[in-house]
């Protein structure tokens, strides 16, 4: 194993929430030093999402799962960019950074005096990545944008949904990770270009646009045929039968996808229903598309009696594409994901050992791009960064803290009960509504995290 490809690369990271932090986490997994900047009075909002893990506990903002996952392996500094001294310090840090990442609305960096033109004065070969909802220019440029609005805005939700039903959003902000991947790749390309030519550059990444290529087949159908395809549920024009079928047990499901005659024949034999293969309705590909509803009924009669994992292995071994529908717990316990180190166990000073999924999943022969460490505490690296890079003395730091230019602000003074009272989610009611499957207090034991 040799050194990581981005060792020695410094990223100043002004991003918050999901897309930006996931992007810079990829750079951290590749060895970059990522310095996350939060305002002393304005912390990353994901620090104060109250889930069961930080409810009512001391320093809840250091325990939030969402924050802990997105920011694993970064350094944290606090810096008030609405204060001239804060901007001056940011400039000092930019001068010693290779990459500046930000995900504010387009006008914000300009207001700080940290737009690309200004930043270049400080560091001519800086690579600046701006991730925004709708890009830096254009009629929607100033629109507020949340990840959950951008998936629909990119056209993905319009093609997601049950047949005959309304458009549905994915169970997460789908465009955020897409933006993260694209942003990280753009930075990697820009770093290579800088290495070759000495030239930095500016990258305008619109979350909205970045996700549109994912629905290209639908776009091209409209371009070519003027057709707007309807929502297909789990079906596909490229396979039939294809669907998600109920299995034995509580809310257990298996997806199955059968493309051609060979797979159909293999399927019928594997599930011990040779008579389906004889059935004229299903004899060829077109028949299986036409009689999809009847097939779904027959298949589900079989799957209902099956354990979803056993059926998964049975079908895959017979050469049929199938997969169990994993919930958030299943994937953590799955032997395949485990063997491939999809989750790294990371030790956090307050949270202990926790599995965190890799953001970059490519496996490399010559280096291990794993989750590089726990998420930082709020302002944990102030002293290290401000003294190490800006050469500030203890007295200067104390003064800056007094002025709220740096420092933890009033956040640690809020009693945890108060945090929770305002921000607690009604988990018991979520269970009742069916928005949660379970809350398992012994989860650490089940995950083998207890020491």
């Amino acid at each position: 194993m040799t050194s990581l490809p981005l060792e020695g690369i410094r990223v100043l990271d002004l991003t918050q929430v999901y897309a930006g932090p996931a992007c810079t986490r990829i750079l951290a997994e590749l060895g970059a030093e990522v310095i996350k900047v939060e305002g002393p009075l304005r912390l990353d909002i994901t620090r104060i999402l109250i889930f069961t893990d930080n409810e009512g506990l001391d320093m809840p903002h250091e325990r939030a799962c969402y924050f802990s996952v997105r920011n694993a392996g970064k350094k944290s500094i606090t810096l008030e960019l609405n204060h001239p001294k804060g901007v001056e310090m940011a400039r000092g840090l930019i001068a010693q950074s290779d990459v500046l990442a930000e995900a504010f609305s387009p006008r914000v960096m300009k207001n700080f005096g940290l737009d690309y033109e200004s930043v270049r004065q400080v560091k001519p070969d800086i690579i600046m990545l701006s991730m925004s909802g709708y890009g830096q220019e254009g009629p929607y440029a100033d629109y507020g944008a949340y990840g959950m609005g951008l998936e629909p805005a990119s056209g993905i939700s319009e093609i997601t949904g049950y047949r005959g039903g309304p458009p549905i959003r994915s169970g997460l902000s789908f465009t955020d990770p897409v933006t993260a991947f694209l942003g990280a790749g753009a930075v990697l390309m820009a770093l290579r270009h800088r290495q070759r030519t000495g030239q930095g550059q500016y990258i305008d990444l619109s979350e909205h646009e970045g996700a549109i290529p994912l629905i290209a087949a639908h776009l091209m159908d409209y371009v070519m045929n003027g057709r707007i395809a309807g929502r297909l549920g789990n079906r596909s024009p490229w396979a039939a039968p294809q669907g998600c079928y109920r299995c034995r047990g509580d809310d257990r499901w298996l997806v199955i996808s059968i493309q051609d005659d060979e797979e159909w024949s293999a399927f019928c034999r594997a599930v011990d229903h040779p008579e389906w293969e004889e059935d004229e309705r299903f004899a060829d590909v077109l028949g299986r598309h036409e009689h999809h509803d009847e097939l779904d009924e027959l298949i589900e009669e079989w799957t209902r009696e099956q354990d979803h994992l056993e059926a998964f292995h049975l079908l895959q071994r017979a050469g049929v594409k199938a997969g169990p529908v994993f919930d958030g717990k299943d994937i953590l316990l799955d032997p395949h994901f485990k063997e491939r180190h999809h989750f790294d166990i990371v030790e956090h000073p307050l949270l202990g050992r926790r599995p965190i999924n890799r953001q970059l999943v490519a496996n490399f022969d010559r280096f291990e791009a794993s989750v590089p460490g726990p998420a930082p505490l709020f302002g944990q690296h102030n002293k290290e960064v401000f003294q190490g890079l800006l050469g500030l003395s203890d007295e200067e730091l104390a003064e800056l803290e007094q002025e709220n230019v740096i420092g933890p602000g009033p956040i640690t003074e809020i009693p945890p009960e108060l945090w929770s009272e305002f921000l607690k989610l009604p988990f018991e009611q979520f269970l009742e509504m069916g928005a949660l499957r379970a809350i398992e207090p012994d989860y650490k034991q089940q995950l083998g995290l207890e020491d």
């Binding site: 969402y66 009629p139 990697l188 998600c244 958030g328 490399f364």
Partner: protein, 408 residues
């Protein structure tokens, strides 16, 4: 004309379908020379996937293929034959990257596995993209996007609570795998720039799909909660939903400041202003996020009259002016006509000899110094002569022999 970011890189692309070709499209669109090696005769199976103009299948007119293979060259070569493998190796001698998507073990069977090639090509970045990766108990299992989404922990949390889990529309896992593969290529190239060595990069589509899991696994790992699907709702706020309006659907997101809070004391909340009913600020549901999430049907009833009597455009424009991040739910037709995307010049046109002039999605991001290239997909074997004769120095007569034996 500025050079592309990857103008010094040559890629030999044996991948097929969507995931691998999307990876090499990202490389090609940003300047790499990508030589797509297709099986003689039918070529990349994606050439057989629709949509086709007027629904008439034609190997040069697949909308999907045309999109996925812009800016690439096409060479036909049967790499499973000894003679084909010889030509492939001559191509590799002049290449930086090999991308392949064959089943695990297939390349090795042809004598073209990474271990077979690394001695001769120590600088080669060799990238394999497969359903479950090169290792692990499921490595020989098959998957498509649906299977990968099922196992990602995302699908379980997508859909209605009383129905089956639902995949995200299209074939998203293919594209996610392509993007992860692209990251793998770039990271390995930077490593090679520094250390002077190539390597094998192993990408799994199932893991690529799982890498987008925002917090379904994390909610269990950090608190033992197992999240289920629950319409289009978000886990920490309501309304964050796709709701019907006068002319279709609209994304309703109150955002951090939409409802009454300490910040809005003494003024009307943006949500009350939007709904043109300031008394709503006194409504108990307006003051409790937890209650809104649990009693969301009542929230919908409050919203319904306004939404049903206004168009998506009216709603989004008014809400955005009130600083609430509402959004559209466009169809593909809406996207192509969208004024913002037009003003940004997002969609691009390219002329193709068989498919004509078509509109394609443009740059997924814009680089100031090394811009995205607009181009078209190659015809099957279009670059045989240029590559084999021009680059590798074969005689034109050799091509006749190779074609006769179905090698090219």
């Amino acid at each position: 004309m500025p050079e592309g970011a990857l103008s010094d890189i040559r890629v030999i692309d044996l991948s097929r379908g969507i995931a691998g070709p999307y990876c090499t499209k990202l490389l090609a669109d940003y300047g790499a020379e990508v030589i797509k090696v297709e099986p003689p005769g039918e070529g990349d199976p994606a050439r057989r996937l629709g949509p086709f103009p007027n629904d008439l299948p034609h190997s040069e007119r697949s909308g999907l293929f045309l999109h996925l293979n812009t800016n690439k060259k096409s060479v036909t070569l049967d790499v499973s034959t000894t003679s084909g493998a010889v030509i492939l190796k001559r191509l590799l001698a002049r290449a930086d990257v090999l991308v392949e998507s064959h089943p695990v073990g297939q390349m090795a069977e042809w004598g073209l596995g990474y271990d077979d090639l690394k001695g001769d090509f120590p600088n080669l970045v060799y990238v394999s993209i497969t359903p479950f990766g090169q290792t692990g108990p499921y490595r020989e299992y098959q998957a498509n996007s649906l299977v990968a989404m099922a196992m990602s922990a995302v699908m379980y949390a997508t859909g209605d609570p009383d129905k089956e889990p639902l995949t995200t529309g299209g074939t998203p896992a293919d594209y996610l795998a392509g993007e992860q593969c692209w990251l793998g290529v770039l990271a390995a190239l930077i490593h090679r720039d520094r250390e002077g060595q190539g390597q094998h990069v192993d990408v799994s589509m199932a893991e690529a799909a799982a890498s987008v899991d925002e917090y379904n696994a994390a909610m269990y790992a950090f608190g033992g909660a197992i999240r289920r699907r629950y319409y289009s709702h978000h886990v920490y706020s309501y309304p964050m939903d796709i709701l019907p309006c006068k002319d279709g659907y609209v994304v309703v997101i109150a955002g951090a400041g939409g409802f009454p809070s300490l910040a809005t004391v003494g003024t009307a909340s943006p949500m009350a202003l939007l709904l043109e009913n300031l008394e709503l600020d006194q409504h108990p549901l307006f003051s409790s996020m937890g209650d809104r999430m649990v009693r969301w049907q009542e929230v919908d009833e409050i919203l319904r009259p306004y939404l049903e009597s206004h168009t998506a455009r009216e709603i989004v424009e008014t809400a955005q002016a009130l600083r609430m991040p509402f959004a559209y739910v466009p169809t593909v037709a809406d996207l192509l006509a969208d004024e913002h995307l037009k003003a940004r010049g997002f969609f691009v046109e390219a002329e193709h000899p068989e498919a004509g002039n078509l509109t394609y999605p443009g740059p997924p991001f814009r680089m100031s110094e090394t811009p995205f290239r607009v181009g078209r997909a190659p015809l099957l074997g279009e670059h045989n002569e240029e590559t084999l004769v021009g680059e590798l120095g074969y005689e034109k007569e050799d091509l006749t022999i190779l074609r006769d034996r179905d090698i090219i």
